[in-house]
Symmetry: C2
Subunit: 342 residues, 2 copies
């Protein structure tokens, strides 16, 4: 059944039932002018908003609705944990043409619910509206979380002479996107890059690692990677007013990516420019090296030291981040990532 036959009220009723849950943090969830929630005493509030737009961030030709719902939640979860916080609540705004099938939205919400449940979160606000029939689906999530004030980790905390780390692998999500664009939905099961495809469609926030880093104070600065490591590290370095040198030989590249780069005769620019990894990028003092190694072992997820921060050369016209290759030359990143308006 299409949404235009079902109607907005019937749809909201279905979803309300699905999300009617009691939680001690929530006085009133969906169903009034606002949600009313109880902040924990002495904590600071974290908030962030993200949008996924059809044909820009995803295509329905190869994106299962349930995974899209999970991703909508988890890209926001990633923002909260990358600040050292704990996610709590989410508000969603869904704009879509009335010709969309009811099944799409119930699957989308099934993914939303699953991801909320995995992160112990409550959906407390929703908004659904139509868009003209030729319009794109636009999904906006706003996430609320909290943290102890002294555990919050900003992008701006790095100092010269600190190690730079990244979790997981670099550029994996982008390779997954290439797989999907080449092979369509069959890439999910049959692509030579299917692990990357899975990562692209269903990114996993590094919650446990981030929580330990925040609790133990292991990082001086942290952010999640969403625009590609080259851009993200430049952002972190700029916020911290430091320079950074990455040794490209140290970059964690998946075996699928290695095969792809070899086959296509591409260099490491591709993984450095690929966005949407939602890994943690952080800097740490050398004294925490062993704790970080231990954390990687305990979590079963790679945490790789890729380089070092350095004093910013303010007179230099060149980039504040250098990617140094094994042969001693610099890898120049030509187009540093995705610009929404270019």
């Amino acid at each position: 059944m299409q949404l235009k036959e079902l109607g907005e009220k019937a749809l909201i009723d279905i979803l309300d039932k699905r999300f009617s849950q009691t939680d001690p943090r929530v006085i009133k969830g969906i169903g009034d002018d606002c949600a009313v929630t109880i902040p924990s005493s002495g904590k600071v509030l974290l908030s962030s908003t993200d949008t996924l737009t059809e044909e820009i961030h995803f295509s329905l030709t190869y994106t299962p609705a349930k995974l899209l719902g999970r991703k909508l939640v988890n890209v926001s979860v990633s923002d909260i944990i990358a600040m050292g916080g704990t996610p709590q609540f989410i508000l969603l705004s869904i704009t879509m043409p009335s010709t969309i099938d009811e099944g799409f939205i119930t699957e989308l919400y099934r993914g939303v619910k699953e991801a909320c449940s995995e992160s112990n979160m409550v959906l407390i606000g929703g908004n659904m509206s139509s868009t003209p029939s030729e319009g794109s689906i636009v999904l906006t999530s706003t996430i609320l979380g909290e943290a102890s004030r002294d555990e919050v980790i900003y992008r701006s905390g790095a100092a010269p002479g600190e190690a730079i780390y990244v979790t997981g692998t670099v550029g994996t999500s982008y390779l997954g996107l290439i797989g999907l664009q080449d092979d369509g939905p069959s890439a999910i099961t049959r692509s030579p890059y299917r692990n990357s495809v899975a990562r692209h469609l269903d990114p996993k926030p590094r919650t446990k690692i981030a929580r330990t880093i925040a609790r133990k104070g292991l990082a001086t600065s942290m952010m999640d990677t969403s625009d590609g490591l080259a851009i993200d590290l430049a952002t972190l370095a700029e916020a911290s007013q430091v320079g950074a040198t990455v040794e490209t030989i140290l970059l964690p590249i998946s075996s699928e990516m290695q095969s792809y780069l070899k086959k296509e005769n591409e260099d490491l620019q591709l993984p450095l420019r690929g966005g949407e990894d939602y890994e943690l990028l952080f800097t740490a003092k050398e004294e925490h090296k062993e704790e970080i190694t231990l954390l990687a072992e305990q979590s079963g997820i790679e945490i790789t030291r890729i380089g070092l921060t350095e004093k910013l050369n303010k007179d230099s016209k060149s980039n504040n981040v250098r990617f140094l290759q094994n042969n001693g030359t610099e890898l120049k990143i030509k187009n540093k990532g995705f610009d929404h308006y270019k």
Copy 2:
């Protein structure tokens, strides 16, 4: 200059400068994975999300960008104050084609800034992304506010035998929309319905009235009117599990609406179905009658008693809200308002 020439980063830089303000409630605003803010001790958090979509909620053919920015903020402010709260922070997600002119977005943000300033609010989060060129502009605002827990006013608090009040006039925004659709942008200055046009393009949240109602505990239930009084009152009555009878002769109808209804030979269904008034709809015990009259005088804004709540007849198949005309018959509302998917 079009956004595709300017680029996302340059645009964000322009807006960051515009919104770089220090506020004791904000530890970190725009520019990190999340905003970090300080909740007031002992208060509850209020949050709500709203979306304005081009060609559904507004048309650029007659909507000045600055007023659109103001409306984007103020429809959210209206949600917070209608719960008895104080708005504090806003996060915006802007999705638009890259062919939009830079001037549009700077004007939009000028309106956002003005409205934030009027409500002592800070823009703490932003997100900008593109949509395919044929796509609609989609603007989502998420508002955060706070309230003393014992001052929060829900939709569900009405009991039988209470007076029903509405601020301002009914259906005014919808008449303004008719004026704009008939005459285009010239309606702003030249329409016979130009006060209604002004109200449609630039709704004013009833902040002072709502604040006094909350502080003094004058209302048992409250909400803002956004879907038309007929739907909104039915929503409030359903949430409170009461019935309601409105005397149509008591409805506050502007002189512009009176002229229009006479000229078009329309009955009161039209103002009762017209959405987007963003007035306050509330119920109060008879003992507060004089204080409410005084509040109207002090604020210079009409607060009109339009009817009475009553015991819900659960066996009845008819509507829980009746609109009773002077001749003793009921005014039947045929199509109770706007359904986004029908």
